[in-house]
């Protein structure tokens, strides 16, 4: 065993933290909030480890593990660092949020360790150099995410969502297992770097299987059917994590793995661009007239996956760094805005026990800050200028138009149509919060006592709201980081 131990530090912190916190919470009878705080500390430590790793590696990859057949190896990946650092950050925020959100739930003991394991699994998917380990880590995420989705198992909607995710996700990993079978037929190894040096038809079939498997996990149309039910059935914080970062991260893992297994970047690009049109269109159209806020956000998430696929697809198809950079920027924008939207929706649910926008007419009169936060998220997603979404849109359009390719222009047109259709969903959602027939808030279950938003919930939504504005106003620091990530990409 040799190599830099730093490469496994973030994962180790998370895995050990998950077990340690579970045991400590169980035997020391820690409260939900103490467990949440400990989890924040662990994820923060992992994040610091990850950032230090990114800083110290200076473009040279750190590897750790057993360098023998069947050995477990982790190899630092700069894109993975960017994606997982974002995910860890979102993970910290949803953990703080859960400090209040789960206060009425006696089963919180398992919740935080599952979040840590999910994040550790995500990091592992980027770092692993072995296909079988990738399969196992993908399964790990499927199981931990399913458990989190079905966390409120007494609610029928939650248990249904959990089972649906587990089935669909397992279907994806099963297809990947087929892929490994094909690859073994041609290469007799599951080591990704060895396979990439000996590309053959079997490895290309395997790459196709991984493409299909990850397409399910990313929610690519027509394999998106699980998305609306899962995001509306899971706890809001988990929907935020899944919609904001986990499902979008799958697109990046998919790209990295399938290219390493022999898929041409142009083929991958073509696949992504072609299906992105469906995502953009179907996501926007289905988001119209949705009364359930989280169902609405789910469909809009499908459209956003489409936007991301489109620009990443352009980047791969034409090998344009500018498009990949726009994709990485868009990923973070979606992570922040989508997470803000789901967490805001969760606050409404927490206080009024309803997820329907029609029940929240005039909610502004009693929760003005929340109405602003949620509107900010929706306006950010709609791409209103000076917010993060607009800068993302500008970068995507710039990158696509700069290619001068007809299909890229066609994509921009579909993107535009999708944006316009999307407005028909976002704007009523915003307006209804501020709209009342003169008597203020009229939800039947409302007791006329002004709900006080817990600081545990207001801190994450406050931070995310600030980020939605700051990234929109001053995107330069983030663009600098992305440029340095792009410079290090070795798999493109």
């Amino acid at each position: 065993m040799s190599g830099s131990i730093e490469a496994i530090l973030p994962s180790s912190i998370l895995i050990l933290g998950a077990f340690g916190i579970y045991l400590a919470a169980r035997f020391l009878r820690l409260s939900n909030r103490v467990e949440a705080l400990l989890t924040v500390a662990v994820i923060s430590a992992a994040l610091i480890g990850l950032l230090t790793l990114g800083k110290n590696s200076n473009g040279i990859l750190s590897i750790y593990g057993v360098f023998e057949p069947g050995g477990i190896q982790y190899q630092v990946d700069v894109v993975g660092n960017y994606i997982t650092a974002t995910s860890f950050f979102i993970g910290i925020l949803i953990t703080i949020y859960s400090g209040e959100y789960l206060s009425k739930d006696p089963r919180y003991l398992l919740y935080y360790p599952l979040i840590m394991l999910t994040l550790a699994g995500l990091l592992g998917m980027f770092y692993t150099t072995d296909l079988f380990n990738l399969f196992l880590l993908t399964e790990l995420i499927s199981i931990t995410a399913s458990a989190l989705i079905a966390f409120r198992y007494k609610k029928e909607i939650s248990i249904k969502a959990g089972i649906k995710y587990l089935i669909m996700s397992s279907l994806g990993t099963m297809i990947m297992l087929f892929g490994i079978y094909f690859i073994l037929q041609g290469s007799d190894t599951t080591d990704i770097s060895e396979i990439s040096m000996n590309i053959n038809n079997f490895s290309r079939i395997g790459a196709g299987c991984f493409l299909a498997g990850f397409s399910i996990k990313a929610g690519i149309v027509p394999l998106h059917t699980w998305v609306p039910e899962v995001y509306s059935g899971a706890p809001s914080a988990i929907s935020a994590l899944l919609a904001g970062v986990i499902s979008k991260s799958m697109l990046f893992v998919m790209a990295i793995v399938s290219i390493k297994l022999g898929l041409e970047p142009s083929e991958l690009g073509l696949y992504l661009v072609s299906f992105s049109f469906l995502n953009m269109f179907i996501g926007s159209v289905r988001a119209l007239n949705q009364n359930n806020i989280r169902r609405f956000l789910s469909f809009s998430s499908i459209a956003q996956t489409g936007y991301l696929m489109f620009i990443m697809g352009i980047g791969f198809y034409l090998q344009i760094e500018r498009a990949i950079a726009a994709g990485l920027f868009l990923f973070l924008v979606i992570a922040v805005t989508k997470c803000l939207a789901f967490l805001s929706a969760g606050i409404y649910e927490y206080h009024f026990d309803t997820g329907y926008i029609d029940d929240l007419h005039g909610v502004y009169t009693i929760m003005p800050m929340m109405a602003y936060f949620f509107s900010l998220a929706l306006a950010g997603l709609a791409g209103i200028p000076l917010l993060a979404g607009f800068t993302g849109k500008w970068l995507v359009f710039s990158a696509a138009i700069s290619t001068g390719e007809p299909f890229a222009i066609l994509g921009v047109v579909i993107f535009l149509i999708s944006t316009i259709i999307g407005l028909g969903g976002y704007l009523p959602m915003i307006v209804k919060q501020f709209r009342s027939s003169g008597n203020g808030f009229e939800f039947p279950g409302f007791q006329r006592e002004l709900p006080k938003i817990s600081i545990w919930m207001s801190i994450p939504v406050g931070i995310l709201s600030i980020l939605v504005i700051v990234i929109g106003l001053f995107p330069s620091p983030l663009l600098n980081i992305i440029n340095s990530v792009i410079n290090w990409i070795i798999w493109l």
Binding site: I401, L416, I420, V431, R435, P475, L479, N483
Partner: protein, 491 residues
């Protein structure tokens, strides 16, 4: 950075300071909020007037601050003659609307938000005219829309305002997205976000691209101008908006579309590129003129009558621009200013009528001359003004637009039809005035005294209209210099 540059930035920063003060001053009464609003807007008016001397000496005043260096985007403002005409028009209109607002009920609740949004609305327009960076231009362009939508949503009339505000947002946003695509295409292909640089380099783009961009720009800006059939947002939005907002929408915001057409496709590309579109612009202008006038004739709601007259008046402006002659385009620029004055006046008259009678249906209004004498005189001058009667301003601009039409090289029939079409304007203007003010006082109307805050600005605008019509020399000179900027002048 010298004093002039700092002053120039003040046109955008001072209203922003006003907005911040208003947002912080949550308990401000309507009068207090109005004072902050009027002072901030007043500063935005005084600064360009102060900088006029520099423009007259041939100087170009620019302000630039790095914003997003990785994307070559900066906070750049530039004041030239073209910007000046539009800037002063919109700031003046906003000021009048703010003063008029004091006399009516809009904004009595949440006054600080109301005046802050009026300031943001105006800031959107002034930023649009001053921006020298395409990113910044679009930000201001959308700010204008968002502020106006919020004003309609919060202070508009009737439950229908939610649906109408959404329609207004979505329709005009479609136009904005077309403009956005053009801006990004130029930014990407020429490697600069500076409008000044793009103006000098745009002709280097492939001809086919220039043609497509011209189409997109024109359609995008025509949505904002509410040219038929892209006007569908206008009548409803004008009807449900509170009166001060309607005044700004009709008198100032519509002209931003005109500014866009002059600043972008015409200034960017050669007249050879524009030439194939000239006839279509003139025809679209003619159709819009006649359609708007006929609808104004058919409408029964007094606010909708004046709203449709905007569609008609924008038709004249597009016709003038489409002529691609110096006279026609100078006439169009002048028409923007005169239309702003007349339209503000007519909506103020309508505001007084509604405030005094609580009635909006023209059939239920008559004989108001006997009890609203001052308003009657203002309305008469406004009606004559919009009809193009000499010596009121619109006569001057229409004269030039028609002269441009005859000089365009296209069949004189087109201009004759436009000229004949203006008869419809006379008819709806006279119907408006005759029905409401002449005849017997309609029974069942309970009159309320009109506050002075409504009457005084209305009279002031009426006097201004007369003066502007009688003394058009300076406006003509500004418009000529503005057009010189479009065709490559330095300032």
């Amino acid at each position: 950075m010298n004093f002039k540059e700092i002053l120039l930035s003040g046109i955008t920063i001072l209203p922003l300071v006003g907005v911040i003060i208003l947002l912080l001053w949550r308990k401000a009464s309507k009068n207090q909020a109005a004072i902050i609003g009027i002072i901030s807007e007043g500063c935005a008016l005084i600064i360009p007037i102060f900088l006029l001397a520099n423009l007259q000496s041939g100087e170009t005043i620019q302000f630039s601050l790095a914003w997003i260096p990785n994307m070559n985007i900066s906070f750049s403002l530039k004041l030239d003659w073209l910007a000046l005409v539009f800037l002063i028009t919109e700031v003046l209109v906003t000021l009048v609307a703010m003063i008029f607002s004091l006399g009516e009920k809009t904004g009595e609740k949440n006054s600080n938000h109301y005046y802050a949004l009026l300031l943001l609305f105006s800031l959107g327009m002034s930023g649009t005219t001053l921006a020298d960076d395409v990113f910044l231009f679009y930000v201001f362009w959308e700010l204008m829309l968002i502020a106006s939508v919020l004003l309609i949503l919060i202070w508009g009339y009737g439950e229908d305002r939610y649906r109408i505000a959404l329609k207004y947002f979505i329709v005009t946003h479609i136009g904005s997205l077309l403009v956005l695509i053009c801006l990004i295409t130029m930014y990407v292909n020429l490697g600069s976000a500076s409008i000044t640089e793009l103006t000098t380099q745009a002709s280097a783009l492939p001809i086919q691209m220039q043609t497509i961009l011209t189409i997109f720009f024109i359609v995008g800006f025509c949505v904002k101008m509410a040219i038929f059939p892209l006007h569908i947002w206008l009548p409803d939005a004008h009807t449900v908006a509170p009166m001060p907002v309607t005044i700004i929408l009709a008198a100032a915001m519509l002209s931003m579309g005109t500014y866009g057409i002059l600043r972008y496709p015409i200034a960017f590309f050669s007249l050879d590129i524009m030439q194939p579109f000239a006839i279509w612009l003139m025809v679209a202008g003619l159709i819009s003129e006649i359609y708007g006038a006929l609808m104004a004739l058919a409408e029964k709601d007094v606010k909708r009558i004046i709203a449709y007259s905007s569609v008609s008046q924008m038709g004249y402006i597009l016709f003038g621009i489409g002529s691609l002659t110096e006279q026609g385009m100078v006439g169009a620029i002048m028409h923007v200013v005169y239309h702003a004055i007349v339209k503000a006046l007519l909506f103020m008259v309508v505001g007084i009528i509604i405030a005094a009678t609580k009635e909006r249906q023209i059939e239920k209004l008559s004989g108001l001359a006997k009890i609203l004498p001052v308003t009657t005189v203002c309305a008469a001058i406004g009606a004559l003004g919009i009809s193009g009667m000499p010596p009121l301003g619109i006569f001057n601009s229409e004269w030039m637009i028609f002269a441009g039409g005859f000089g365009s090289g296209y069949s004189p029939l087109l201009t004759i039809l436009t000229l004949m079409g203006s008869l419809f304007t006379v008819v709806y203007a006279l119907r408006f005035f005759g029905k409401i003010f002449l005849g017997k006082l309609s029974p069942g109307i309970e009159l309320k005294a009109s506050p002075r805050a409504l009457i005084i600005p209305t009279v002031a605008v009426t006097i201004f209209l007369i003066v502007e019509g009688l003394l058009p020399a300076s406006l003509l000179s500004w418009a000529i210099q503005g057009l010189a900027v479009v065709f490559g002048g330095t300032s």
